[in-house]
């Protein structure tokens, strides 16, 4: 039937692909056919059946009835076939023979009526029927309508035929019905013409559509993006192969269940919202959600979708952005962790650009300066700086950019910052530059050092207090060191104490025992600093207490050892102690040394250095150590140097020790120096030697130099005193050597004999003897008040014949290096006899 062919696929063109459209069309056609068949054909069949039954009932069984029934049955069968054919093949033209057959049967039916009934009214009615049927040619549906009306009118006519009014009424009814039928027909006809045009059009474009469908199919199938059609009820309807590639499910799997089941739980609500929005006609751009893939992972899909609301369909394009998303997440994570690091860093971190504009300001910077991040970002960094930086910072930056000479970059510096509340505070600043294409950023790492500064100041103050106390202690310690050097005839002294720290573990002392005697003390506590310094004080006072003019140094040492042992061993300290008693008028030295090996005796005449060894162990090792005492004598010019091991242990930059040899050569090179000069030379040498090296140990030096000395006496010029006089001279001259003393005695015996025998003869008088012990020799001056003696009047004796006298002067001349006789000086007649010790 014509109504069945009404095409509807054009409505579907905007979505789906070719096969979709085709299916839709088929569905639509099927539905139309079925709808056409059911009411119309059933009604028709019923009417024809009633029509036939009516004939049979009214006209009695006979050949006519059978013929009518056959005709009606054939018409119905043919109609059914026509319908079936139509359903199998959508070509509308095939319906025409069917329709025509029905028409023919209807005409035959009417003619049969006329023959059989011979009834004018029947015939009139029949004509009307035929008239109605005439429309069939043009419009089948309206044929059925008119036929139905005719049939109904006919039934009514049959039932109430005998009333003439009814006949007229019936006639009007039939005419009206046919007239209405005609109007509807005309309207319908126009529609049909349009439908036909459309039908023809679609037929001509069918191939094109199919081609387009194929292209769409290819496009759909080859698309890398995920193309799909889904329905509002939440099911995919159609999926491009990309779905399987991305998610790993077969199309079947995906089509079976609501797509939202595969959406990540967190994205479900959003997805449903989107579906709702689509359903209400919105277009969705760039919606992202996650789908669970077959392997359990989630894929990020970016969707663009629109809905065809009328069809309840969603057309969507999905794009797998999982990789991009993951890298984005990684980036975000990194940025977050960077931010977290920045924000959790204790140091303030500020980034500025080359104009000084703050780009970044971390949390610590915020808490240091008291500004919130948003208060400073975009502002010039100088807002955080007090003068002079405030005004000069731009200059710093541009100077750097011009010269690229870093003043602070990579160096770090202590500067001052200003807080929001105006407080200026010290901060440690480290700046690094970040070179980006076309611009430079500067990163400042800032640490508030207010507390550190405070702590430093407190520490400095404490240090200062401690230093003051140490200085005080050092003053006390210095004050107990001898303030002045002892002055006794026959010796000159020099002494120096150079503590390695402020307090010394060395100490020295000079104790004047009597007018000719000095006790020299040098102690070295094995240790430095305060404990050693305290010990020096105690040792010093013990020694002072024990040293008396009649005490042997060894007794002093033994006593000091005994008294100090407890303290020393408790403090686990040792002391080396050198005690020496120097007798100025004789040059005699008695010493005892507790483990102190640092002492040298330099012999002037021999230019020889003799070590003065220790005579026992250091104090503090054994409680009852018994020391020994040793004696030596010093000639004028001899030098005794006593020192602490800070001298020999001084090191230079090459880690060499100063050692004893260097000291010896200094002494040997300084024979004519005074004690002070020698000491200065030693200290200077140590200083030069260990330049650049911190002094490790306390240094103490004592120099005792024996000076020329005079011994004089006056005795009566009598033979009874001769031996006494020459013995005294011998005794003093013995300092140089026994042979030397013998010869001096011999010469002086001649001189004194001469004075007694010749100058004074029998007269009373005295001889004044003055001996000068020089470093080079011995000088004897004799004065008498007797008769002058003409030494030139005594020529050398005649050595060829032995003489009983006259040898005296000759002996004196030969023995002594100088002989001088001055008669009648202010002090009397003066003999001077000089003998050089070196034999010169």
């Amino acid at each position: 039937m014509t109504e069945e062919i009404t095409p509807s696929f054009h409505d579907d063109q905007q979505g789906g692909h070719a096969s979709e459209i085709k299916a839709e069309i088929a569905l639509s056609l099927n539905r139309t056919a079925w709808e056409s068949i059911s009411p119309v054909s059933i009604t028709l069949a019923i009417l024809y059946t009633l029509f036939t039954v009516g004939h049979i009932l009214l006209l009695l069984p006979g050949i006519k009835t059978i013929m009518v029934s056959l005709a009606a049955g054939t018409a119905i069968v043919l109609f059914g076939i026509g319908t079936l054919v139509k359903r199998a093949n959508y070509r509308p033209l095939i319906t025409y023979p069917v329709m025509f057959t029905v028409f023919v049967l209807a005409v035959a039916n009417s003619l049969l009526h006329l023959f059989l009934t011979n009834d004018i009214l029947q015939t009139t009615n029949l004509i009307l029927v035929i008239f109605g049927i005439g429309y069939f040619v043009l419009s089948t549906p309206w044929y059925f309508i008119s036929l139905t009306i005719s049939t109904v009118s006919w039934i009514l006519f049959v039932l109430k035929l005998d009333e003439p009014g009814n006949v007229i009424h019936f006639g009007i009814a039939v005419f009206s019905a046919n007239l209405i039928s005609l109007v509807f027909h005309l309207v319908r006809k126009r529609n049909l013409e349009e439908g036909e045009k459309l039908r023809l059009l679609s037929e001509s474009q069918w191939v094109e559509i199919e081609q387009a469908q194929e292209e769409r199919d290819r496009f759909f199938n080859l698309s890398i993006d995920m193309l799909c059609v889904a329905s509002f009820d939440g099911y995919f309807k159609h999926l491009s192969p990309a779905f399987e590639k991305v998610l790993g499910y077969s199309d079947q799997d995906l089509l079976e269940k609501p797509f939202v089941e595969l959406v990540h739980p967190e994205d479900k609500d959003a997805t449903l919202d989107v579906v709702n929005n689509l359903a209400s006609g919105s277009t969705i751009i760039a919606f992202e959600n996650r789908y669970r893939a077959n392997d359990g992972s989630y894929k990020w899909i970016l969707w663009n979708a629109a809905a065809f609301v009328e069809a309840g369909l969603i057309y969507a394009i999905g794009h797998d952005i999982t990789a991009k998303k993951e890298s984005l997440f990684a980036l975000e994570e990194r940025e977050q962790s960077m931010q977290a690091i920045l924000n959790t860093t204790v140091d303030g971190i500020i980034v500025i650009n080359e104009l000084g504009i703050i780009q970044s300001f971390n949390r610590s910077a915020s808490s240091i300066f008291g500004y919130a991040e948003e208060e400073v970002i975009g502002n010039n960094i100088r807002m955080l700086m007090p003068e002079p930086y405030h005004g000069e910072h731009d200059g710093y930056v541009s100077a750097y950019l011009d010269t690229r000479q870093p003043k602070i970059i990579g160096i770090g510096r202590e500067v001052r910052g200003i807080r929001k509340n105006g407080e200026i505070f010290p901060l440690a600043l480290a700046v690094s530059n970040v070179e980006l294409p076309g611009r430079t950023l500067f990163t400042g790492i800032i640490r508030d050092i207010t507390e550190r500064k405070r702590a430093e100041e407190a520490l400095n103050a404490a240090r200062q207090r401690l230093q003051q106390e140490i200085d005080l202690a050092a003053d006390i310690q210095t004050s107990v060191l001898p303030r002045e050097l002892p002055t006794i005839a026959g010796f000159e002294f020099s002494a120096r104490n150079l503590p390695a720290r402020f307090l010394s573990g060395d100490f020295y002392d000079f104790i004047r025992l009597d007018e000719n005697t000095v006790q020299v003390v040098l102690g070295d506590i094995a240790g430095k600093g305060i404990p050693a310094a305290l010990m020096t004080l105690s040792s010093r006072s013990v020694i002072r207490n024990e040293s008396t003019s009649d005490a042997y140094v060894v007794d002093v040492l033994n006593e000091v050892s005994r008294q100090q042992y407890q303290d020393l061993s408790r403090a686990e300290l040792f002391v080396t102690l050198f005690l020496a008693r120097l007798e100025g008028h004789t040059g005699q030295v008695w010493y005892a040394s507790a483990g102190h090996g640092e002492a040298l005796l330099w012999r002037h005449l021999e230019n020889d250095v003799i070590p003065i060894s220790a005579t026992g162990l250091p104090l503090g090792i054994f409680p009852d150590e018994q020391y020994e005492e040793t004696n030596f004598s010093m000639r004028p010019g001899d030098i005794c140097i006593i020192f602490s091991d800070g001298i020999t242990d001084a090191v230079n930059l090459d880690s060499e020790f100063f050692g004893i040899d260097r000291l010896v050569s200094i002494i040997q090179g300084c024979a004519q120096f005074t004690a002070d000069e020698l000491l200065n030379a030693v200290v200077q040498a140590i200083d030069d030697f260990s330049r650049g090296v911190d002094q490790e140990d306390d240094i103490t030096v004592i120099v005792a130099k024996a000076l020329p000395r005079q011994v004089s006496f006056e005795l009566p010029a009598t033979l009874e005193h001769l031996d006494q006089i020459v013995a005294a001279i011998n005794h003093n001259a013995a300092l140089y050597s026994d042979d030397f003393a013998y010869e001096v005695e011999l010469a002086s015996s001649e001189a004194v004999t001469n004075i007694i025998e010749h100058a004074y003869r029998e007269k009373q008088g005295t001889i004044r003897v003055e001996m000068t012990l020089n470093q080079d020799g011995f000088q004897l001056d004799l004065f008498d008040e007797g008769e002058p003696f003409d030494v030139t009047a005594t020529p050398d004796p005649n050595f060829d014949t032995p003489q009983e006298s006259g040898y005296g002067i000759s002996i004196m001349r030969q023995i002594m290096d100088e002989m001088l006789y001055e008669p009648g000086t202010e002090r009397g007649n003066h003999w001077r006899l000089v003998k050089f010790a070196n034999g010169g």
């Binding site: 001769l722 031996d723 005695e745 001649e750 004999t753 032995p802 040898y807 005296g808």
Partner: protein
Amino acid sequence: MDLTIIETKPIDGVAVLIVAGRLNVISAGELKDKLKALVADGVYQIVLELAGVTFIDSSGLSAIVLGLKSTRVHEGALKLVGLRPTTKKVFELTRLDRVFEFYENTDEAIGSF
């Protein structure tokens, strides 16, 4: 008192004087006296044993020279034994070492006569 002189009995006409101590102006007279006495007694051969002399000056020397001269007058001799180096030196200084005979020991000196 500083000088000790021990005189031994002459053996074969040789007298030996053992001298010890300081021989100077104080003690020289004593030695001179001894020597004079020996010569006076006819002893012209004298040995002076000087090992004990610790000191001698020109006065001591003169006593010994006197003894030498006295004996030489009588064709005798005075010989010296056991001088300390310091004593010998005094003889050398006065060139008297050229006129005296020195011996290491007394027997040798005695035997030389």
